[in-house]
């Protein structure tokens, strides 16, 4: 038996600074209303499924929930699974907008629905019309109640003939935003991950083909349709056209709340310095949120916001959550804190996750207090990976693995007691390095 552990609470930001951007965030000065949205971008086109798939394939739009699956292929899979119009009867697809944003270090989906809800809803409507869906479900999270309210206001403004809007609120839990957890919630069961033998695109809500994607993904779908191929591809690089939303944070304060959070829209290929200030450019950067990977300070200045460049340092944009240790926090202590948080966020349904994550959290705490637990941590990371109904164990193992691999010099220094943080070596148990929570990420757009 392991001794019971108190997991730290980490909560999403209560307020976020949203900055104007090139596409998705280009109209935020005009407010979130439908009239301003239509006046700026015109009537919503209704492309057929083939032209929509081609359009999305040409600009290579990928899902923005973390996994990065090509949206055009997801649409094709739903279309194939639903079959022809003649046999549509019991196979009419559903569209689900995932705005649950269980990752507390991310605020871009909630920000987007707050400032530009109609772009997201437009994307869902275009997809629904192309697929012959009549119901669009929008799932937000109960710990960000203003998101559900923003969606409610926006859907009430709209008149989407033949479309029924359904809203749900997921529990405030890290794994609640996982796609299968959403399907469970929508079915009236506890919104927790279960094993899926087929993707939602084939076997989703009410066992029908379901286009389930992240809120930002739908906004990109709308942007491609509203700006057109050339207008959209005028941004970004030839290999990765378009933009991405990023959430910029520093470690949450000791009360677990993120403060001084910024949401920005970058063009793919923009350099790190477009969003990071001098201090952040010289500090470890966690890319992809708590399921993401650490990037070494020596690699941060040369980063570009594209998966091609991030891939070279073993990172992925994922859902675009960037956490910088520009406040001087120690990467080992912070990773220990996040691992403990993630262990507490396990739904506890899958054995390897239920047992392995608390074990990893204990060993990470040991590492933070100066014990060389690296071998055991690697063993545990290997043991939990790929052995759960969702990617929670994999993501937690990725976070820990990237600390040991990418920031190995920092870990060495920490174990030698040479790390400046108070957690190194000899801090009494239970005491953690102080977090100032000050804001060091400047937005220079």
């Amino acid at each position: 038996m392991t001794s019971p552990m108190i997991h730290p609470m980490i909560r999403p930001p209560a307020s976020v600074d949203v900055h104007s951007g090139p596409l998705l965030l280009s109209g935020i000065d005009r407010g979130p209303g439908l009239a301003a949205h239509r006046a700026r971008l015109g009537a919503l086109p209704e492309p057929g499924i083939q032209s929509l798939v081609t359009l999305l394939g040409d600009v290579g739009v990928r899902g923005r929930g973390g996994a990065g699956f090509p949206l055009s292929r997801k649409l094709q899979t739903v279309m194939r699974a639903r079959g022809s119009r003649a046999t549509l009867g019991g196979r009419r697809p559903y569209v689900v907008v995932n705005a649950a944003e269980g990752e507390p270090a991310s605020a871009k989906d909630s920000a987007l629905l707050d400032v530009a809800p109609h772009l997201v809803l437009d994307g869902a409507v275009v997809a629904a019309r192309a697929l012959g869906a009549r119901e669009i479900h929008v799932v937000s999270s109960e710990d960000r109640p203003w998101v559900g309210a923003a969606v409610h206001r926006a859907t009430n403004e709209r008149d989407d003939h033949g479309i029924r809007w359904v809203q749900h609120e997921a529990a405030s839990r890290f794994v609640s935003g996982q796609s299968r957890a959403l399907i469970e919630l929508m079915a009236g069961r506890p919104g927790l991950p279960v094993t899926s033998w087929a993707p939602e695109a084939v076997d989703g809500h009410r066992r029908r083909p379901t286009l389930l994607s992240n809120a930002e993904s739908f906004a990109h779908l709308a942007a491609v349709v509203l700006w057109g191929l050339d207008g959209y591809a005028a941004h970004g690089t030839p290999e990765e056209p378009g933009t991405s939303l990023l959430t910029l944070t520093t470690p949450p304060a000791s009360d677990g709340v993120f403060r001084g959070v910024h949401v920005v829209e970058v063009e793919h290929g923009d350099g790190a310095a477009t969003v990071l200030d001098a201090q952040a450019l010289g500090s470890p950067l966690l890319v992809g949120g708590f399921h993401g990977s650490w990037v070494h300070p020596r690699d941060v200045p040369a980063l570009e916001w594209s998966n091609a460049v991030l891939g070279e340092v073993g990172a992925r944009l994922g859902a675009g959550a960037l956490l910088s240790l520009s406040d001087g926090s120690c990467a080992v202590s912070e990773t220990a804190r996040y691992t403990s948080y993630l262990a507490g966020e396990s739904a506890g349904r899958c054995g390897p996750c239920r047992n392995g994550l608390p074990a990893m959290a204990t060993e990470m705490e040991g590492l933070a207090f100066g014990a060389d637990t690296r071998r055991r941590l690697r063993e545990l990371a290997g043991l939990v990976t790929g052995r759960g109904a969702c990617a929670h164990p994999d993501g937690t193992a990725r976070l820990v693995g990237s600390l040991l691999t990418t920031l190995d010099d920092h870990v060495e220094a920490h174990l030698d007691g040479a790390c400046a943080c108070s957690g190194s070596g000899r801090a009494p148990r239970g005491e953690r390095p102080a977090h100032t929570g000050t804001q060091h990420l400047a937005v220079q757009r």
């Binding site: 094993t195 899958c350 054995g351 052995r387 109904a389």
Partner: protein, 68 residues
């Protein structure tokens, strides 16, 4: 086209580490330190009988054979 492959998959939320699968098919199923199955690669044609026995024996119906 890659050749057809038969693999064992665990329904993790259903599995309660009873361990019958590892007893019946030790060639491809071991247990981890908490008693949960570790599947060691795809099932060969000669092993399909044992694999099916392990699947059928699971009291939680948490082990599945999939042919890809």
């Amino acid at each position: 086209m890659s050749p057809r492959e038969t693999v064992l998959r665990v329904d993790w939320p259903e599995c309660r580490a009873r361990g019958l699968c590892a007893e019946l098919f030790p060639e491809k199923i071991q247990v981890d330190e908490w008693g949960y199955p570790v599947v060691l690669g795809p099932v060969k044609a000669s092993e399909e009988r044992a694999a099916k026995d392990a699947v059928d024996a699971c009291p939680r119906r948490a082990l599945h054979l999939h042919t890809t």
